[in-house]
């Protein structure tokens, strides 16, 4: 627990509503994120995910409870130079171009001019914005702005990355790229906290997840432990005919099992979409 990149103890946040009415957004949240893991914070809209991230980054102050990031109290400006935070909506200065935007954030992070340009070029290339580098951000589509948001999040080569709905506004290709990116970050030893309500996105990449509902923590654990069904087993076999399948079913029943389903495995729609769009006749990256 001592060197956990994120540690949260009894975090509670009440917002002040109209006429002084208190709205409870988060109740007594306690969790920690271990070094080098991808942690998913899941929940429906209004469950407290974004509030948690805002409390961690110091955009909000907790009503009670405490939080630490990289060993310092949440909101410490010095820690911000070691984290990358992608908020739910990416807000930029509309009159700056993509390259100027990254240059501006690079300056804020104290990067030298050569390093700033090198990283900005690499990130614009990585997120498919190299051709739009000299376009004003105000003319960007939502997906392009999201890609630029991701690029600016990684500009300072952060130790800890906080992503709030990172695939929001992205097409399936962009979504896949973000998931691949998160896995690459993990491979480089970074710690990633992802907030999303898109369960399929999270399931394949996260080591551990926490599910919030109504502002409180409902479940926390390893994805493999939480999703495994102990009472059933699934086999994927190639090259069996109908007769062999009948024999297998009979054998299973004879051994006391109950055959729940036998059907050909299906590709995931995301894989099918990507194979079609990225086929030989498809153009380059688009936004």
């Amino acid at each position: 627990m001592g060197d956990a990149p994120i540690r949260v103890e009894g975090l509670t946040k009440h917002y002040r509503g109209r006429w002084g009415r208190r709205v409870e957004a988060l109740r007594n949240l306690t969790l920690s994120v271990e070094p080098g893991e991808i942690f998913g914070l899941l929940g429906p809209n209004g469950s407290g995910k974004t509030t948690t991230l805002k409390l961690l980054t110091g955009l909000l102050r907790p009503t009670s409870g405490r939080a630490w990031m990289l060993g310092k109290p949440a909101g410490d400006p010095q820690v911000r130079s070691r984290i990358g935070f992608l908020p739910e909506e990416s807000y930029f200065y509309r009159f700056l171009t993509a390259a100027e935007t990254l240059d501006f954030f690079g300056r804020l992070f104290g990067l030298g001019v050569t390093e700033r340009r090198r990283r900005a070029d690499a990130l614009l290339e990585e997120f498919g914005l190299a051709e739009a580098r000299h376009r004003a951000v105000g003319t960007f589509s939502k997906g392009m702005a999201r890609r630029l948001g991701l690029a600016s999040t990684l500009l300072n080569d952060p130790e800890l990355v906080l992503l709030d709905e990172p695939t929001s506004g992205l097409d399936p290709m962009g979504t896949r790229e973000v998931k691949d990116l998160i896995l690459r970050l993990k491979a480089r030893g970074k710690t990633v906290l992802v907030c999303s309500h898109l369960l399929a996105d999270i399931e394949r990449i996260c080591d551990r997840i926490a599910i919030l509902a109504g502002g409180s923590l409902r479940i926390l654990g390893r994805v493999s432990d939480l999703l495994a069904r102990r009472d059933a087993v699934q086999m994927t076999v190639r090259g069996l005919g109908e007769g062999a399948l009948d024999a297998l079913r009979a054998q299973a029943r004879a051994l006391g099992g109950e055959v729940l389903s036998v059907e050909p495995p299906r590709d995931r729609l995301e894989d099918l979409f990507l194979s079609v769009v990225r086929g030989p006749s498809a153009g380059g990256k688009s936004s």
């Binding site: 930029f92 300056r107 804020l108």
Partner: protein, 325 residues
């Protein structure tokens, strides 16, 4: 300080990349130009005027009324627009504190204000060219003393601005070059004043007048910045700061008018003072006039600095308050 320079640079870019700064500058120079011509007529008239009248009237003539327009226009966008566009949240996640953000916003507004006033050097130059008796000629050619001085003053500002830009990159060599250029401009300006021909007006009075105008501007800009932090959008911010300054202007106009004594001061040194005197201490008109007489007064300086510090502190608290919602 790193974040401070970066933000000041961005804010100045935001001022100068849009058309509004140039429109505003044109309007300001047109009115000040008209005022300059009017004062020149008075200055040439031996019955009505003299040398000092020009500077006393020039810097502070339209200033109070201009402040009503200038301060809301310069400050309204600073924080209100950042809040509306969501970019304040983006800045708040960068490694800079709220105080740095507020200080950078204030500094950039003040630098823009300094730039507006620097442009009026050309009016001062016109005046000097009208009144000096040419005594120092180069091969029979009379140098345009006023414009030479104005060019040098602009040179000072430009090299200071350039130095600021270079230092933000922490490029030591270019920083030193810019500092040397700035020092050279200052040295030339001093030499120019020392070599001034007969009839040259007292430069210290002009400088003190400008210091007074800049102090008043800085004070009111800090008030405008607070309104920008409190408002949800820039139109509301402009209306709030315009109204606030309007009230201040009215109170300043009442300075010296009210003869009513201050109650409960019978046995104190305030016994002889009236409400008009009290308003006079903080009046928008009376403070700059003292500066125009060539005196940089310590009490005026302290008053301005403490008001600026108070309003900047309040602005930081207003920006921080979003975390407690």
């Amino acid at each position: 300080m790193r974040g401070f320079y970066v933000l000041v640079r961005r804010e100045l870019m935001a001022y100068f990349l849009g058309p509004s700064a140039y429109l505003f500058l044109a309007g300001f120079l047109a009115v000040q130009g008209y005022w300059c011509c009017y004062l020149l007529d008075i200055a040439r008239d031996p019955v009505r005027g003299g040398l000092d009248n020009f500077f006393e009237g020039y810097v502070s003539g339209f200033l109070p009324v201009f402040m009503l327009l200038m301060v809301p226009v310069i400050t309204m966008r600073l924080l209100a627009e950042e809040k509306r566009a969501g970019t304040l949240e983006t800045l708040a996640t960068a490694p800079i504190g709220d105080a740095t953000i507020v200080l950078a916003k204030f500094s950039s507004a003040f630098l823009f204000y300094v730039f507006l006033f620097a442009m009026t050097f050309s009016h001062v130059a016109t005046y000097i060219d009208h009144i000096v008796t040419p005594t120092w000629k180069i091969l029979g050619w009379t140098p345009p003393y006023g414009f030479l001085g104005a060019m040098l003053a602009w040179g000072c500002l430009a090299s200071a601005a350039w130095a600021l830009g270079r230092f933000s990159d922490r490029d030591a060599v270019w920083g030193m070059v810019a500092t040397a250029a700035f020092a050279a401009c200052v040295a030339l300006l001093i030499l120019y004043v020392k070599k001034a021909p007969e009839g040259m007006p007292d430069i210290t009075k002009i400088a003190a007048g400008y210091v007074g105008a800049l102090l008043l501007g800085a004070t009111l800009l800090s008030v405008g910045l607070l309104f920008s932090a409190l408002a949800q959008n820039q139109v509301t911010a402009a209306i709030l700061s315009g109204s606030g300054l309007g009230v201040y202007l009215l109170l300043s106009a009442l300075a010296g008018q009210s003869r009513a004594k201050i109650p409960w001061t019978e046995n104190t040194r305030w016994a002889e003072k009236t409400w008009g005197d009290v308003l006079g201490y903080v009046s928008m008109f009376q403070r700059p006039q003292a500066f125009n007489a060539g005196q940089v007064q310590l009490d005026s300086l302290l008053l301005a600095l403490s008001v600026i510090a108070f309003f900047l502190f309040a602005t930081v608290k207003a920006v921080e308050s979003r975390k407690w919602r």
